[in-house]
């Protein structure tokens, strides 16, 4: 089925578009909205956005595949991003990642069967003062211990 924006998102888009010098410049914010609405950027989302902005679909696809925050496949709703860069590694980031994997029973790049979470191992989230840390949804958490991970995941399941 062809993708369409909800009326409230369409309204947001109508506000965003005239503020940019070119239509294409609004591509990233519009893709963010689309992903929020649809959960991931399927080919029909890419096509709808391309036609909205008057762009060839390849130009949109280039962008969705270049940036790591865009999901191209169906996935769990809330992203869990465990930092794997240096400061986090020094303070036990690998153990935290291992623990989250066990706890969710999934590997990096996978989603939980109940569709709640997706798990990623990411480069520095620039919150190394709270290492080891992770991002769940919009929020940063750290310094993490196994107990804290338990608590955060429990909250996140609600």
């Amino acid at each position: 089925m062809a993708f369409t924006f909800t009326p409230s998102n369409q309204k947001k888009i109508n506000e965003i578009l005239p503020r940019y010098e070119t239509k294409q410049a609004a591509l990233l914010p519009i893709l963010h909205l689309a992903q929020e609405q649809h959960g991931y950027l399927s080919p029909d989302v890419e096509e709808a956005v391309a036609s909205l902005l008057g762009l060839p679909v390849v130009k949109v696809r280039e962008v969705t595949s270049f940036y790591t925050l865009y999901e191209k496949k169906p996935c769990g709703k809330t992203p869990i991003r465990v930092c794997r860069n240096l400061s986090c590694t020094l303070l036990g980031g690998r153990e935290i990642l291992e623990y989250v994997r066990q706890k969710l029973g999934i590997d990096v790049g996978e989603s939980t069967p109940d569709g709640r979470f997706r798990l990623d191992s990411v480069e520095c989230l620039c919150a190394c003062e709270m290492a080891p840390m992770m991002q769940v949804g919009d929020d940063y958490y750290g310094p993490l211990t196994k107990e804290k991970v338990d608590q955060i995941l429990k909250e996140g399941r609600k």
């Binding site: 990233l28 790591t68 925050l69 240096l86 480069e123 620039c126 003062e129 929020d139």
Partner: protein
Amino acid sequence: MNELILSKRFNLKESHKLQTYLSTGGYRSAERALKTMKPEAIVEEVKVSNLRGFGGAGFSTGMKWSFLPKERKKPVYLVVNADEGEPGTFKDRYIMEKDPHLLIEGILITSFAIGSHKAYVYIRGEYVKSYRILQGAVDEAYAKGYLGKNIFGTGFDLEVMLHMGAGAYICGEETALLESLEGKKGFPRLKPPFPAIIGLFGCPTIINNVETLSCLPTIIERGGKAFADLGCEKNGGTHLYSLSGHVERPGVYELRMGTPLRDLIYKYGGGIRGGKQLKAVVPGGMSAAVLKANEIDVGLDYESLKKAGTMLGSAGIIVMDETTCMVEALLVTARFFAHESCGQCSPCREGTGWYYKVVQRIYEGKGRMQDLETLMSIPVNMGGNTICAFADGAAMPFSSYPVKFREEFEQHIREGKCNPTKENHAYAYH
């Protein structure tokens, strides 16, 4: 005593609110600048201030602004680099979340100085909280007339737009950032032409880091000379140092430019966690050459660190204690570069991928002695013939870790395992 300029409001209650900002002197510099100063005079003050860009390159801000064409046929854009992504660096996040109006006032003064009526703030996609707080502050500023039309009744107009990235370290590089802002994948552009001549939407553009612009209110308030005097030779002002790793008190520290690295770690950071011994320090983000424990009597400024064979970069200081496996530290670094190369230039794409494999081999105990020579030859193979500075930066760790910690790398190859506390490597790296 250390004077605070950038972080003086960080610990105030509701520090991000306009009310707090105004009651502590906020927007007075902008008002004075717009009402009583000529744009050229501001650029002149900035030159005198010795302000150098805090995004990593340390380029003179006043000089950069004066590269704009004198004749204005097209609009000029200000683009604020809030794509903070350099591992070990988190200062811009503090400014945006704890004192967003300081940044907005800096944007206002700068836009007036360079004759721009539209500023974009490009924020990394993961910084949702920063985005929300900054957007709240921008809305407050519009409501009170500090942004929008006819600011302070001077006839000067300014529009500020926040723009979210989508996860790509390379978009912190200024020309990749412009591409991304135009709705494309973040491939850096060949320079010249420099953005000051052809930047955003083909128009003259000034790109500055969040922290750089946040210095402007102080420069206007006190004058360029006084700002320069706050720092050390050729490095004006104070700087926000991000300190992390094996220290007792990680965090953001505002210190005079040129503060000794030893003081940052021991005096401010409380020393090494659990009373352990220091082993190594990365003084300025991932691309900086690593320093050994006996090399920390060096000033944290551009010249001093350059003389010490490394760099200040983004001032992200990562501290490693005696338990650290240096092969693992380099492996994490190598994986980062392999993952973040945009892939446009083959020496960078192939090089970062290949060197990651070599370090991984050593780490997993399958290394050969000649791998060390291979690693150390990287600057020759990878730097230089590439579009952006990423490849040069990526080369630095490979030519410093295996040289400075040669013993440990050799032992890893000989015995197939690590020297310090961790006896074997339990997890696969992917």
